[in-house]
């Protein structure tokens, strides 16, 4: 199969992939859209940080504080380069992608004109968003009186942009959408949406949680105003997310959380705020986790995001083909590997996904079942839930074969 990475070598970096479950079954980890596993290099960076450099960052004059600060800010440099940000000061560390998205929604709710979202204005999302890119906007709409609108889906799991001019209008202040869907796998047509948003002067926020781990990212090429993603899905630790935002916006927009680190000067009567990114990083940041994310980025770069993309494309192509051989299996989302990421949702006849997942698990195969935090997609396609297999740089064709065999077993079991 052309395009595949040397997974034998790569898998050696991931201690957990050697694990056996259920009395000696080899672990087949196909739940990468939920979270990725971590290479030894990232775990070593975490341990080294705590064993040698740990201190609170910023403003310390002792060695550990200087070193910890350099490591933390060095991680910011790595992220900035990874996403081709024009400036490192545009990279805000959060706790996860959900916080990043809530941060944008809250900034806009408290902003002055021209950014302010209020009862006269509209917010646009899509029906294939993760709950983390739905609920913050529902809350913002409730709190401000703004109207929430969304793009629907076509039967084959793509955005229905046929009415784009009615959805995105002069009233639209913000359009927030997912680059790669975590449930359907769809890769969305960024350019079309951004062009229309720019026409009407709306800001654009892109949820890149399922993109940043899997493909080269270039925030300048995306032409978005904000891009959010999360560390744990890209070989990094839990507890760290990123929000990239355009510098002028970060300067103009109000802070969200208040506290240490985000201030310039405080008196009991009033406070002024530090310039971005610190303005948006209240309290002791996830220092070790940023360092770990930096190590994850080094790791991904050492393999090459282009090559990771090619590998996953090959694996996805193979998976789509093999899954088509399973009787009664129906893919929910694009049925080819074109413009799709490495997460494949499906139903298997009448067998409930919980049963599919459980019987696969008994064979050591870890998939996710449920609505994948994207319940509107399930509603749209009239299904209670799906089974989702999702791949990453260490996934192999043999694991796809194991999945297909496992599904045969599921069918016999409940047949």
């Amino acid at each position: 199969m052309p395009g595949l990475l040397d997974t034998e070598a790569i898998r050696k970096d991931f201690p957990i992939l050697d694990r056996q479950v259920h009395d000696g079954k080899k672990l087949v980890y196909l739940d990468n859209a939920a979270t990725s596993q971590k290479p030894r290099q990232v775990l070593d960076a975490l341990s080294e940080y705590y064993e040698r450099y740990n201190a609170n960052v910023h403003r310390g004059v002792h060695v550990l504080a200087e070193e910890a600060t350099a490591l933390y800010e060095g991680a910011r440099d790595k992220v900035a380069e990874f996403i081709n940000a024009p400036s490192r000061d545009e990279v805000i560390f959060t706790k996860n992608a959900s916080e990043s998205l809530n941060l944008v929604a809250n900034m806009l709710g408290w902003a002055d004109e021209p950014y302010r979202v209020d009862a006269e204005t509209e917010i646009v999302i899509t029906e294939m968003e993760h709950h983390s890119n739905i609920v913050p906007w529902q809350l913002l709409a409730q709190r401000t009186g703004a109207k929430l609108k969304w793009f629907g889906l076509t039967d084959d799991g793509r955005l229905d942009l046929s009415n784009i001019d009615e959805i995105i209008t002069e009233k639209t202040k913000i359009v927030s959408f997912v680059l790669v869907s975590n449930i359907l796998g769809t890769v969305n047509p960024v350019e079309t949406i951004v062009r229309r948003a720019q026409e009407v002067g709306a800001l654009v926020c892109i949820d890149a949680s399922q993109a940043a781990p899997h493909m080269p990212m270039d925030v300048q090429a995306l032409q978005a105003d904000f891009v959010a993603f999360t560390g744990h899905k890209m070989c990094g630790p839990t507890g760290i997310g990123v929000l990239w935002g355009r510098q002028e916006l970060l300067e103009d927009l109000p802070p969200f959380l208040g506290g240490g680190e985000m201030i310039e000067t405080v008196s009991m009567h009033s406070s002024t705020y530090a310039p971005a990114p610190h303005k948006f990083e209240a309290g002791t940041p996830p220092v070790a986790q940023a360092v770990g994310l930096g190590a994850a980025i080094d790791y991904l770069n050492s393999i090459g995001m282009d090559r990771i993309l090619a590998h996953e494309h090959a694996i996805t192509e193979y998976a789509v083909k093999r899954l088509a051989e399973v009787p009664d299996l129906k893919i929910i989302g694009p049925t080819t590997a074109e413009d799709r990421g490495a997460a494949i949702s499906f139903t298997l006849g009448d067998i409930h996904p919980h049963d599919v997942g459980q019987v696969l698990d008994e064979q050591g195969i870890a998939v996710r079942v449920g609505h994948h935090c994207a319940r509107p997609v399930c509603l749209r396609y009239g299904i209670p839930a799906t089974t989702r297999a999702s791949f990453y740089l260490y996934s192999t064709p043999a694991e796809i074969d194991a999945l297909v065999e496992g599904l045969e077993h599921v069918r016999n079991f409940f047949g």
Binding site: H352, D355, Q358, H371
Partner: protein
């Protein structure tokens, strides 16, 4: 966890379908989309019928079938004891090994003991039982029935 008994009830559910009743409830498990519509029919304090319709995983479907088997024809007090015993078993995190006394009460339902080890599935097994409790409270007068159960 998929005992033969569970699979049998899943493939051939007992008493499935909606029939006449004194009260009807609709319960949903939002995390997995399991749904049940359930009706109870009482004759004084005797359970005349528990009829249901639903969709969901084998555990939730089989559990409804077992419930129908166990409860129809019983006196309310006995049914309550069965329900509570089943609840206790399901909340045991795999730590209760059903003994003869429990088997006497729960019959086929002891097959669900293994499910209690899987927190994500316990709710599925309990869905119909919670629906029954709720429907019973409605049929026999809410607050009063509730108080006795608590």
């Amino acid at each position: 966890m998929y005992q033969e008994v569970i699979l049998d009830h899943y493939k051939n559910p007992h008493g499935r379908g909606l029939r006449d009743g004194d009260a009807e409830v609709h319960h949903v498990n939002p995390t997995c989309g399991d749904e049940i519509t359930l009706r109870v029919k009482y004759d004084g304090t005797t359970i005349r019928d528990v009829s249901y319709e639903g969709q969901g995983c084998s555990i939730s479907q089989a559990s409804a079938s077992v419930l129908n088997d166990l409860l129809v024809g019983k006196e309310l007090a006995d049914a309550r004891q069965i329900q509570e015993t089943f609840l206790e078993l399901m909340q045991s995190k795999g730590k209760i090994e059903p003994d003869d006394a429990m088997e006497e009460i729960l019959e086929d339902a002891v097959a669900f003991a293994g499910v209690s080890k899987y927190p994500a599935r316990v709710k599925c097994a309990l869905l119909s039982w919670m629906a029954w409790k709720d429907a019973t409270a409605q049929a026999l007068g809410g607050a009063d029935a509730e108080r006795k159960t608590a």
